[in-house]
Amino acid sequence: MNAAIDPAEPEIVLDAAGLSVAYGKVTALRDVSLKVRKGEIVTVIGPNGAGKTTLLSALIGLLPVRGELVYLGERQGPGRSVEKLVRQGMTLVPEKRELFAEMSVEDNLLMGAFDRYRAGHRDELETMDQVFDIFPRLRERRQQMAGTLSGGERQMLAMGRALMAKPKLLLLDEPSLGLAPLIIKEIFRTVARLRKTGVAILLVEQNARAALQVADYGYVLETGDLSLAGPSRDLANDPRVIESYLGLGGRG
């Protein structure tokens, strides 16, 4: 089962090769290959409907995939499931946040630690304190119902809840969606800071400019295919990316 470990690159957290996802007869992802290393932020940018959310849903096990998927050196077989991947430290912050609206901020965060609690860890209060340090706004709102939070606070709560699981790989689906520019800046600053904790981050974004600024490496996804890949600095300077995704302002 461990045949896929490559001793030369022990730090690879996620290694996907030739992934394809189909909804019935419609192929949503074709032959996608990507790697995410420990402590690295990798971004997948692309327009609406390119298959970005599909990619993350497939990685976390919400959708069946074809192709080879190696997570933490373990090839994913037929028993792959969301629950098992969560247990192994993969966490998704979904595009729709999927918060528990009628529960307090604190209880939402607690649910993020549910699987660790079930596995026998009892450090959820400490972890919650760390999450409150990352998102001080959540500490102020801790007794408030999640459904009454603002859009930015909801995104913070969704990310904080994911961090409660102490993830090894954090999948972020469009964290900037529907947020004001100032809040987006704050969220992305936090994403950049998270890198220091050693977590690997796969960030899927339509906001290419913001994503390429924080990421180390980037991929461009267009109608189900990866069209470009490279270090994000190179991508940000690539004329094709500038024209399609960054607009006239270039890197500005």
Binding site: G77, V82, R87, P94, E98, F100, E102, F114, D115, R118
Partner: protein
């Protein structure tokens, strides 16, 4: 009507209402978490009562066989799954939980004669026999089809209900049973006599409701069930699988059902098919709460109990009709209210 009769009927109504309230809470819980309308809820009431009666009569309750059979079926299914996923290490645990544990329980029942044991031990044994049937039935009947529509799940529920009633007839026979009262104490308040068993039912129901409240508000597993009811996808992404939530809610529902049966079996004769009507009255309460609100469901169930009790005095032939007709104005009111919300 004299005041004394009114009080007597009220006492009766509230006692039954308390049981209906427990069942209504279980129905709301199961529906909110799994979207299953749990028609077999009543069968757990009957099985709880009849299992206790069998134990007290010195017979081996038929539920033992059901437990052994379901356990064996699950062991086979789960072992096959583990083999398919190449997780062979799981197999011993699967066999231990689903085969060894029920066998051990059966062994205990054969070795000690339960009829001579003290009542709390008999109650405990009855619960140990009936409650595991909840998650087992979930595993076999609902888990493979958990993603189907509410209507399809309802049809599965009807099938499970009919099967369990048939099995009940096979195991317990057509004869009804009534267990002796837990306590002979009675209190006189003015002209009315308050039976100890009545008070016991009320106190036990109240305690159970408080325990459920604490479970949902204070424990991480209770919160996980609420989270699943609020947002299934969100809960799954936290590692709270639908299977875990389903088995947990079915365990609670089975426990509530079996306890209800044990509580009322000294008050009324329970037959193999008595559970259906009792469960259905809990269901009327749950409908009043829109299958969503716990407090309204419980209050509605008490209302059902009172309505039943008073209508049995004035129009005993139409007792059931009156109770179930209550559902029509409730549904009418609910549908009008819903349309109003949609219009906004």
């Amino acid at each position: 009507m004299e005041l004394q009769i009114a009080l007597l009927l009220g006492q009766d109504g509230i006692t039954n209402g308390a049981i209906y309230a427990l069942l209504a809470l279980a129905l709301v819980l199961v529906f909110a978490v799994t979207r299953v309308i749990f028609i077999p809820q009543g069968e757990f009431v009957a099985f709880g009562a009849l299992t206790l009666a069998s134990l007290q009569a010195g017979k081996l309750p038929g539920t033992v066989w059901l437990l052994l059979c379901l356990g064996a079926a699950i062991a086979v299914l789960e072992s096959l799954r583990a083999a398919r996923e190449r997780c062979f290490r799981q197999i011993p645990l699967i066999l231990l939980i689903n085969c060894a544990a029920p066998l051990l329980l059966a062994g205990v029942l054969v070795a000690f004669s339960p009829a001579t044991l003290p009542l709390p031990v008999q109650v405990l044994l009855a619960l140990m026999l009936v409650v595991p049937l909840g998650p087992m039935i979930y595993r076999l009947a609902y888990q493979p089809v958990a993603d189907l529509t509410v209507l399809a799940l309802l049809i599965v529920s009807v099938a499970v209900h009919v099967t369990l009633v048939g099995i009940g007839l096979l195991f317990f026979g057509a004869e009804g049973s009534r267990t002796p009262a837990f306590t002979d104490a009675s209190f006189e308040i003015g002209d009315t006599v308050l039976q100890g068993q009545t008070i016991l039912v009320l106190v036990a129901s109240a305690l159970l409701i408080v325990a459920l409240y604490l479970f949902f508000e204070r424990t991480i597993y209770g919160k996980a069930l609420r989270a699943t009811a609020m947002n299934r996808t969100g809960a799954r992404l936290m590692g709270i699988s639908g299977t875990l939530a389903g088995q947990l809610s079915f365990t609670l529902a089975a426990a509530i059902g079996a306890l209800s049966g044990i509580l009322i079996s000294p008050l009324t004769t329970i037959y193999y098919d008595s559970g259906f009507l009792i469960g259905l009255k809990g269901f009327v309460g749950a409908i009043i709460g829109g299958l969503a609100s716990y407090p309204v469901a419980a209050a509605g169930a008490v209302l059902v109990g009172l309505l039943e009790s008073y209508s049995s005095f004035w129009a005993s032939a139409f007792k059931e009709v009156i109770v179930f007709t209550l559902i029509i104005p409730v549904l009418l009111w609910r549908s009008l209210k819903t349309r109003h919300v949609e219009a906004e």
